[in-house]
């Protein structure tokens, strides 16, 4: 069958590494625990009969004592005065906004008994359109961070000496004078009212300047648009209007400006709606390392970062630009020449974006878009995005001024320049020369530790505020919980210092009354308008699309394009989860595997992979080309200028051969327990170009292998199925071996000559449909031979009431990981930390398997969300000795924790490898708390912190050590939805029940529903001929339906 089983996950399986194959046959990695323990800590782990009797005696005694204790007195504390909005046990949702610098999503916050526990998307917003990324999903955890700053105070040596707010106001007031040179340093500010507050402060202190910068900067884009169109903004990109999308290094689905918005638009033209007449847009990515966006592209052109300018200029020339262009590598040249033809054939339907921070690049790309007729069609200026406003020049000027001693006071608003700029060292020396320094940070960070005072802001979920992510798209921030600590809204603090004693809530209202009220006509009274805005969370007004004329200096820009370098280049990129480091202290995001590398808790060095003829292996190469970098978790030194740090390598398919990549945002030194010293800080490696803009690549070199990472937190090869193996010199599928040598070798677990992936190119959809139909026929034939009376069950149980299922459209899934985090939040999935992940103990119920296929050196990617498949003939159920896992009449594979005795037979027997075992007490839910952490000298488990536990979903059991857990299809949501329908005496609809993963997915790749509701979304979706079930032929009758991946690849556009 076409394209079946030619996919791979990494070098080890591609190379048929025998070690890996051995590992893959084991369900639970056989780490020599006893030996490790005894060698590391000197504990004697062997035991004899006497020990056994001792433990037995102790166990019995302890159990007796515990059982004999009196039942503790439990209190039931009611409210004194019950708020109308709260009914204990019933969730209340509030519309608010997730805003952090330029990151934005309009959200609904689920609160229980007054505490926020879950984030959902707000579909009323036309910007985020009901989507939330992983970062938005995880924001609720940062609220319950016990390391947040709790009081105003004086900072000395990184420690806060508490002071009252009144004292702080007095002291700061005494230090500022009307002529003070004050700088407010901030990342992008989306809030119009905050800007108004800044203005008010400026009125009082006229020498105040707002220094806006972004650590992952789009400064060049803003400057280019200013010079070309006179509008220094990010335009309103419309990926939904484009048929050909070309991205020069812009990771617009992962991190670039407004990734969820762009992904939603992008996916509108990427889903196969009509199989007979399939249509799709085409996406070409030009980049060096494999980005999330690049992994979703149809064609990828690999270049080194310094070739980017040459590539852009070349394309412009091919489109008739006539500019001078430095030569780039031959493969890329050929691809770009073909690409130009492709673009020319789609004038008016092309969109070219560029992610570099180089003004010349951006000007040329603007020209290309102009030539291709993109303006007005795929790029509009009607609702420009305000999500990147930072100009790198501002922060450069500030650093210069501070060092010159001409700044009297620096207020750090929502920024961390002592960490997240290339010249952080200069910033630090400069900051020491400033008389008054105040940080408004919610947490202690590198910059706050150097400030004189701290005036901690409320958390996003405790604040009032507003945001304007795009022009005319206003969004409300309302508090969902009373402030947990003695913090004060930063705007209110600033207003106080400007002599305005209004509360920020009043100020915000008056700001909306004067500015936003006038823009609408639906409401006559302000109160009604305001109530509606707070209720909806958003208020949107249309604005006109100004006609723009391209007026850029193309030849000037082209002349600035530099010749590519020849040595090894290091590309630095923003990661999907940690951003520029502002999310480093969020364990959910740290433990969310990177979509491409599938690593957790750190930044890793992606090294290119090449086919080596002599050894018939895929190898990684270092820059000298002589020493091989081969194997999993090798450590090498990365040198960039004076910077030299060891990094663990990842063999990265699709990485340009002359480059390595490494993520930004790690290696935070002052951040809190979770993020401290996780990974390495590579901001100092970044270079600044002649325009003052930060460049996200450098020349560098990597050393020979200097060691091996023994705690390699990469889930790439965990819970693997679908591997091939070598047996007696021939490549065989492991389960064939299992069949032939069942008695002697006893392979288990890994199935490969099985249905896992189906994919095709757009022109091969017909064949794909046939392939799937053929597979189904074979599978049905096999499955008919079952001894189980499946048909009977179906008639009697599954066709009655509900039968739950999930449909995953792998064309719409782009691997962002929002579902993973949403699942952790919804289902109290514990955070286990890097050491445990390295031991294959990650607990995530939903993993996103990432497969490469096609050309080995420049492959395409499929993302496959893999959760419990709720098989109606579940192999796990039959082997449980205590019936702790069994089937419900609604098709749910039920896991009953209180019955589980931890034999793990079920996990062993699960073909999909989706069951997780609680090896340790990750949540302190045990009667007798875990003691391993103390023995191993580790921090206590993350969820032992009482404040953090506030985030737990009270409807879901917190599992204790020794039980298996797995995806429940969000049974608590199912039950809640059913109850709502029952209580209202009506039929259940699609809207009543959805799983956390489905509701978090920005692009709607996951659909949850009832197969018995044939007219529902799910019932319709699973009718597509592209739908199949993983391992359909083994007769487990799973309930998760996958829709095959189709791409729109064009030959010759790869390089």
């Amino acid at each position: 069958m076409k394209n079946r089983n030619n996919a791979w996950v990494g070098t080890a399986d591609k190379n048929n590494d025998p070690k890996f194959n051995e590992l893959a046959t084991e369900e639970f990695v056989g780490l020599p625990i006893a030996e490790t323990l005894s060698s590391e800590t000197g504990i004697d782990t062997s035991s004899n009969r006497r020990d056994f009797l001792k433990y037995l005696g102790f166990g019995l005694g302890a159990a007796t004592i515990a059982a004999g204790c009196e039942t503790p007195l439990r209190r039931a504390i009611p409210y004194v005065e019950k708020p109308d909005a709260i009914v204990p046990g019933v969730a209340t949702y509030y519309a608010t906004s997730f805003v952090n610098g330029g990151d934005y999503a309009s959200i609904l916050v689920k609160t229980r008994e007054g505490r926020p526990i879950k984030i959902e998307g707000n579909s009323l917003s036309s910007v985020s359109q009901g989507g939330t990324g992983a970062r938005g999903q995880a924001m609720v955890l940062s609220l319950y961070d016990s390391e947040r700053l709790k009081n105003a105070g004086k900072v000395a040596d990184g420690a806060v000496t508490e002071m009252s707010w009144a004292e702080l106001d007095r002291e700061i007031g005494g230090k500022l004078s009307a002529g003070s040179q004050i700088r407010i340093v901030t990342h992008t500010v989306l809030s119009p009212t905050t800007k108004r507050v800044f203005q008010e402060f400026k009125n009082r202190y006229p020498n105040t300047e707002i220094v806006t910068y972004d650590p992952i900067s789009s400064s060049a884009l803003l400057e280019a648009n200013e010079s070309c169109f006179g509008l220094g903004v990010v335009p309103n990109y419309r990926f939904d209007n484009a048929q050909v999308i070309l991205s020069f290094g812009a990771d617009f689905m992962g991190t670039w400006i407004s990734p969820e918005e762009y992904s939603i638009q992008y996916m509108k033209n990427r889903r196969i709606k009509d199989v007979k007449n399939p249509k799709m847009s085409r996406h070409i990515q030009v980049e060096s390392g494999m980005s999330l966006t690049g992994s979703n592209a149809d064609n990828r052109v690999r270049i080194r970062p310094s070739e980017m300018g040459g590539a852009i200029a070349l394309l412009l020339n091919e489109l008739g630009g006539g500019v001078s262009a430095p030569k780039i590598n031959d493969k890329a040249t050929a691809a770009i020449k073909k690409l130009a033809l492709e673009l020319q054939a789609n004038i008016g339907k092309c969109l070219v974006v560029c992610g570099t921070n180089n003004v010349a690049h951006q000007v040329l790309v603007n020209k290309i878009n102009d030539v291709l007729g993109s303006y007005g069609n795929t790029i509009k200026f009607d609702a420009p995005s305000y999500q990147r406003q930072g100009r790198d020049k501002n922060i450069r000027d500030l650093v210069r001024d501070m060092n010159a001693g001409s700044v009297d006071a620096v207020f750090v608003w929502n920024a961390n320049p002592a960490y997240d700029i290339p010249d952080a060292d200069k910033f630090k020396t400069g900051l020491a020369k400033v008389g008054t320094t105040v940080s408004f940070s919610t947490n202690m960070d590198e910059t706050t530790a150097l400030c004189g005072y701290v005036a901690p802001n409320h958390h996003n979920l405790e604040s009032w505020g507003d945001a304007e992510p795009k022009k005319g798209h206003y969004s409300i921030i309302q508090p969902t919980i009373s402030p947990l600590f003695n913090t004060r809204q930063a705007e209110e603090t600033l207003l106080k210092w400007s002599g305005n004693n209004a509360s920020y809530y009043d100020y915000l209202q008056s700001s909306w009354q004067s500015d936003m009220m006038a823009q609408q006509s639906s409401f006559l009274s302000f109160q009604a308008f305001w109530d509606n805005a707070v209720h909806d969370g958003v208020f949107e007004v249309a604005s006109s699309n100004p006609a723009v004329v391209f007026n850029g200096n193309v030849s000037g820009a082209a002349s600035q394009i530099k010749k590519p370098s020849t040595g090894l280049e290091v590309a630095f990129y923003e990661t999907v989860n940690i951003g520029s480091g502002q999310y480093a202290n969020n364990p959910w995001l740290q433990e969310m595997p990177d979509p491409i590398m599938r690593t957790v808790w750190g930044n890793y060095l992606s090294v290119p992979v090449e086919w080596d003829e002599s050894s018939s292996q895929f190898i990684g190469k270092n820059n000298t080309g002589t020493k091989l970098v081969y194997g999993v978790a090798d450590i090498v030194d990365l040198s960039v200028g004076n910077f030299k740090e060891p990094f663990t390598t990842i063999q990265q398919f699709g990485q340009d051969a002359n480059t390595v990549s490494v993520g930004l945002g790690f290696g935070r030194e002052v951040v809190g327990k979770a993020g401290q010293n996780v990974g390495k800080n590579v901001f100092p490696c970044l270079k600044i170009d002649e325009n003052g803009n930060t460049q996200y690549y450098s020349e560098g070199s990597i050393s020979e292998i200097i060691g091996k990472n023994r705690e390699f937190g990469c889930v790439q090869y965990h819970h693997t199925f679908g591997v091939t193996g070598e047996h007696e010199g021939e490549e065989v599928k492991l389960d064939e071996v299992a069949l032939s040598s069942l008695i002697t070798d006893g392979y288990q677990g890994s199935l490969t000559d099985r249905t896992i992936l189906f994919n095709s190119n757009l022109d091969g959809v017909d064949g794909l449909v046939k392939d799937i139909a053929k597979m189904k026929k074979v599978a049905d034939h096999r499955n008919d031979a079952t001894l189980y009376p499946y048909k009977e069950y179906q008639e009697e149980f599954y066709s009655q009431g509900h039968h739950w299922a999930i449909h995953v459209d792998m064309n719409a899934c782009y691997g962002c990981g929002a579902c993973t985090v949403a699942c952790m939040a919804e289902n109290n999935v514990p955070v286990v930390g890097n050491r445990e992940v390295a031991r294959h103990h990650e607990m995530t119920w939903l993993r996103i398997d990432r497969y490469f296929y096609g050309d080995a050196e420049n492959p395409n990617t499929v993302y496959m969300p893999m959760m419990c498949q709720h098989c109606d003939n579940a192999p796990c159920e039959n082997v449980c000795p205590v019936n702790a896992t069994n089937h419900s009449s609604e098709g749910l594979n039920q896991m009953t924790y209180n019955r589980c005795v931890g034999t793990r037979y079920c996990a062993n027997n699960c073909p999909y490898k989706v069951r997780r075992f609680n090896w340790l007490d990750y949540t302190s839910a045990d009667l007798f708390g875990g003691n391993q952490n103390a023995i191993n000298g580790e921090d206590p488990a993350y969820y032992t912190d009482n404040l953090v536990r506030m985030v737990l979903n009270p409807d879901v059991t917190v599992r204790s050590r020794g039980v298996i857990e797995k995806c429940s299809f969000c049974v608590q949501r199912i039950q809640q939805g059913k109850l709502t329908a029952k209580a209202e005496g009506r039929k259940l609809t699609d809207r009543d029940v959805t799983s956390a993963c489905a509701s978090a997915c920005p692009t709607g790749a996951i659909t949850f529903g009832d197969t018995n509701n044939k007219k529902g979304d799910l019932g319709q979706a699973i009718e597509s001929p592209l739908v199949y079930r993983v391992f359909e032929e083994i007769g487990v009758q799973s309930s998760v339906f996958y829709q095959a991946k189709v791409i729109n690849k064009k030959e010759g556009l790869d390089a």
Binding site: A67, T71, L73, R74, R75, A76, I77, P78, Y79, V80, E81, K82, V87, P88, G89, V90, E796, S799, Q800, G801, H802, N886, S888, S889, E890, L892, Q894, M895, T896, Y897, N898, R899, D955, V956, T957, V958, S968, V971, Q972, Q975, K978, L979, A981, K982, A983, G985, R986, K987, L988, N1012
Partner: protein
């Protein structure tokens, strides 16, 4: 034909019994109990021995001896008797501060008789219908249902034991005789002691002990932490009998979560205040208990106003507000003029009530009397159990009493049901789903068709998956 002659006699006895029963139905302690509860219990103590708002009723017939008729009319309309100038009646009226007793003119002679019978029984024996069983707190309703078979088993065991010994003796005698006959008689017969200490016997006893011990251990282990009958003292002596029984307040007036939430919700103190703004003295405890609500929310009953900044108020200031209130009520009740010194009893009473307020409203984690009332939770489910009141109350249309028992009769609330899994499961097996009229259940087409075809009468919770693990555990 002995039987024939017996039949008329039996019939005669039966009819006699019937007559007795029907006569008893007219004057009975049980109807007296109902009458007392409905009419008298708000002022007179149920134990008949202690005074409440009204005097203790125990021995009332002796006090009115020879004047039965006057007692009856006194009960129906005391004011009329006082007006008639009866010396005892007038003295009694004056002794009780001229507190009025409600007239109950509609009571019949039989009803008054029942009342008096009940009062007498309660006074002399401690229960409505003697002989009284030992009242087990929390368990009477259940205890009544279970008959005690232990004596029967014991008797059986003794008989079987004797039988075993006799049989063993017979066997040993027969053995001895056979041996004697065969000529190889042993020196002596096995004695009883020999038999009891024989290997077989010891093995049997050990075996029996292990079985019995294991059985008991398992049973007790299963019952660990099940708290049927749990009736802890509450910070406020809140009487469901008074509120739900006597006053007929709907359960869901206070427990307003039951219809829409998983929790039934312990009502907030402001729910209490809806009524207790007006009702400032309780029928049983006067100011002692209701003042606790005021002290919790910061309400000054003397001025009928909420106290400003109550949370920050000094404890002495709070004490003054509420002791003044208690004292003024004490003065009113005992006709002590303002300005005169409070007698020792009064001082003690006020102090005791204040101490009660402080100890009830403070716990080891809350040292200020302001704030929520720390009720003691009675119904505790393990953390891995999900229970939803709305599902049972709104959708399943279950009465509260099905699980919580006769709450309206409970002075002190106790856990009526075992709340064990077996108990839940049993109910789910038997209870019919409210199929009709709820469109939601239309997705169960098969059952609907079966009902239509007459093949099925009802659908139980079990049949729509009510016994599945993840209906309650997730």
């Amino acid at each position: 034909m002995v039987y024939k002659s017996l039949i008329p006699r039996i019939l005669f006895i039966l009819s006699l019994m019937l007559v007795t029963i029907s006569v008893q139905a007219e004057v009975s302690a049980s109807s007296g109990k109902t009458l007392f509860k409905n009419n008298c219990a708000s002022c007179h103590n149920k134990n008949m021995k202690d005074d409440l708002t009204g005097p203790a009723l125990g021995g009332v017939q002796e006090r009115w001896e020879g004047r039965e008729e006057l007692l009856y009319s006194w009960i129906r309309n005391s004011q009329a008797v006082i007006a008639s100038g009866d010396e005892y009646a007038v003295n009694l009226y004056n002794k009780w501060n001229k507190a009025l007793m409600n007239p109950f003119t509609n009571l019949t002679d039989d009803e008054v008789g029942s009342l008096l019978l009940y009062i007498n029984n309660m006074y002399s024996a401690g229960c409505a219908e003697p002989p009284c069983e030992d009242a087990v707190p929390g368990g009477p309703a259940i205890a009544a249902e279970q008959t005690n078979n232990t004596p029967l088993y014991l008797t059986l065991m003794v008989i079987l034991g004797i039988l075993a010994v006799v049989l063993a003796r017979i066997v040993s005698n027969l053995n001895h005789m056979v041996q004697t006959k065969e000529g190889n008689a042993p020196a002596q017969r096995a004695t009883l002691v020999d038999m009891l200490t024989s290997k077989g016997m010891i093995a049997f006893v050990l075996f029996a002990l292990v079985i019995f011990g294991g059985y008991t251990t398992v049973n007790n282990a299963i019952n660990l932490n099940r708290m049927q009958g749990y009736a802890p003292d509450q910070p406020i002596k809140f009487s469901h009998a008074t509120h739900a029984g006597l006053q007929q307040i709907d359960c869901q007036y206070c427990h307003d979560g039951a219809r829409r939430s998983k929790h039934s919700v312990i009502p907030a103190a402001n729910t209490c205040m809806n009524c207790h703004k007006a009702i400032k003295k309780g029928s049983q405890y006067g100011t002692a208990e209701i003042t606790k609500i005021y002290a919790s929310v910061g309400y000054d009953p003397a001025t009928d106003k909420m106290i400003e900044n109550y949370e920050d108020m000094d404890i002495d200031a709070i004490k003054k507000v509420y002791t003044d209130w208690i004292e003024s009520n004490y003065r009113k009740d005992n006709s002590i003029e303002e300005g005169t010194a409070l007698p020792k009893d009064g001082v003690e009473e006020v102090a005791a009530q204040w101490d009660g307020i402080v100890s009830s409203l403070t716990t080891d984690v809350k040292d200020h009397v302001s704030g929520p009332i720390p009720w003691v939770r009675i119904h505790n489910l393990p953390d891995h159990v999900y229970f939803n009141h709305a599902q049972h109350v709104t959708v399943g249309k279950q009465e509260c009493q099905t699980c919580h028992g006769p709450v309206e009769e409970m002075e002190l609330l106790y856990q009526y049901s075992p709340l064990s899994m077996g108990w839940c499961i049993n109910c789910h097996r038997q209870t019919e789903v409210q199929f009709s009229g709820n469109e939601y259940y239309e997705s169960y087409e098969m059952y609907h068709n079966q009902i239509k075809d007459g093949k099925r009468e009802k659908v139980t919770v079990e049949e729509i998956g009510g016994l599945e693990c993840q209906k309650c555990h997730y």
